[in-house]
């Protein structure tokens, strides 16, 4: 399975992962019609998306067999994106009014 140190993912693995992804997609669409109460609707939808993205990253992008540093790059970018969203929301979620206005006097 190795050529010059490169891992070659088997066709079987690739087909299995693709099948899983398609099934998860179908589940996501079905969830759309089921109308879960918030916040569970968001958690379910995003949770499935995270699982799908992880499958793509690990098995299509080969991170499962690759040097750990490349996975670290991916993780760090997500952490910083979370910092952007999270800390901005410390502002947007705690304002008195959504768009700040200033009254005269």
């Amino acid at each position: 399975m190795e050529a010059q140190g490169h891992h070659i993912t088997s066709v079987k693995t690739l087909l299995t992962v693709a099948t899983a992804l398609i099934i998860l997609t179908i589940i996501t669409v079905i969830f759309g019609y089921l109308n879960f109460p918030p916040p569970y609707n968001v958690i379910a939808a995003i949770g499935i998306a995270v699982v799908k993205a992880s499958l793509v990253a690990m098995f299509f992008m080969n991170l499962y067999w690759d040097k750990k540093f490349n996975a670290l790059i991916l993780v760090i970018s997500i952490i910083f994106l979370s910092a952007l969203v999270g800390i901005t929301m410390l502002d947007t979620m705690f304002r008195h009014a959504i768009i700040p206005t200033f009254t005269a006097g």
Binding site: F69, F80, A83, L84, I87, T88, D91, T92, R95, I99
Partner: protein
Amino acid sequence: METAAANRKTVTMKVRRYVMPEHSEKNYINQEKGLKSWLLTRDHKRIGLMYFMTSAVVFFVAGLLALTIRLELWTPAKTIIDAQTYNEIFTLHGTMMIFFFLVPAVPGILGNFLIPLQIGAKDVAFPRLNLLSYYLYLMGVIFTVVTILTHGVDTGWTFYAPYSIKSTAAVIPMTTGIFISGFSSILTGLNFIVTIHKLRAPGLTWGKFPLFVWGIYGTSIIQILATPVLAITLALVVMERVLHVGIFDPALGGDPVLYQHFFWFYSHPAVYIMIVPGFGIIADLIATFSHKRLFGYWFVAISTLAISFLGFLVWGHHMFVAGQSMVASIVFSLITFMIGIPTGIKIFNWLATMYKGSIRLKVPMLYALSFIFLFSIGGFTGVMLGALSVDVQLHATYYVVAHFHYVMFGGMVIALLGGIHFWWPKMFGKMYSETMARVSWFLIFVGFNVTFFPQFILGAKGMPRRYYNYLDQFQSLHQLSTVGSWILALGFFVMLGYLLHSLIKGEKAPANPWDARTLEWMTSAPPPTENFSYTPVVIHGPYEYQRPISEFQLGLINNDHHGGEEHEIEAPSGSPEMANA
């Protein structure tokens, strides 16, 4: 003979000493001739020179704009230009200095020239990408010139919504130019990270390379993570102007403060992009000219990474009075205070390096010492601005203008000048006049303080920034500041003079005029295109001045040589020799 610690993986290699000629007949400048060999070069050293020439022109033009601003402020009312032109000039000055000089110049000039040399590599990881980075930068500069010539931009370099959406000025060409230049920044950062990880010479572990490499590494990380957010923000401003998407425009229900969040998420780390390589330069200068090992190498290295990381968490300190929630403001203020800690650690380590060192006050050292003084002032005043109640008074006043000029000019530009004077003999194989360089340094140091120190006072007394008119009581301080700008300008003209003279008629430089120990000094001045005629092997740290130079000139034995001392060295992870061992 260096022996590694018992628990480290070591590989035994046969090395011998290689002495590169002091001057190369054929060096990277004259080896290939003709315009095409420059325009299509993949040599990191030539690319570094091209960045040097372009950014010098940008600095010169943006500097002239600054002189114009200061001249206009000689009197409270109109002096030489009208208000609209004034707005366009300070916008252009800020945009050019930040996006087209400070962000690209240090990685572009010194990073490109030195990183492969300092790590003993033949080039960066992706030389063609490096050339592309340069051309993207050049395109960005050209867009700016087009903007100047057609319409001008009057929004301030911060392009705040909603004015940037409504203004009739040439916002779209200007932001496009910045977008393109941002791409250059990203590709440069990418190149350096891979280069530093993958192309280090055998024996060059993470604890052995010069602090300048750490500085470039830290900056590259910030460039990768922050610049894309600027890119999307500018793209959204264009979309807002063209399609009225309503994300930032309050008239459509958008949030202008959201623009500020996105903008500053990049632009605060951007100031660290600008200064972190400077920290690296200063560490190298202080160690070399104290002739003493850098005190607390790992403290300085890790604090570089800490600053790079913490710099991403403080952006809201630009927005304390913008309508941001109190919760966010408190968090941002707290982290802003914290970022002073790793910075302070650096300064103390540099001072400790100097203590009991053998100090030579050559011109690069004069710049390094100036940096410590000026950057400390800039840094302290930054922490002061980070205090919420103080910022309410000082936000958008000249206090802020003075603060950022102290850190960006008094910090980064001074560090860059120190670096240029340090590495000039290596880059061009010529020495410059030490006396004239001292004169220039003195004029710049005095001129800088006369220009900007009064601005702290102006700001504290209530003079707002970006104002074209002002109250009569501020005139004397404004005039003092303007006189300072003339002294500064004179200092730079003197510098231009002796540097040009050095290129044309300067005395030939030895390969290692400063008795340093890092790899770039072990090759000829100027270096040959392939940097080293051997594969360097590193067995000591970068600041081991007590070791003889011969121990820094070791290289792998070529097939056609026999014998040579055997050294046991630590082969770093990823080193190709590990595979062969």
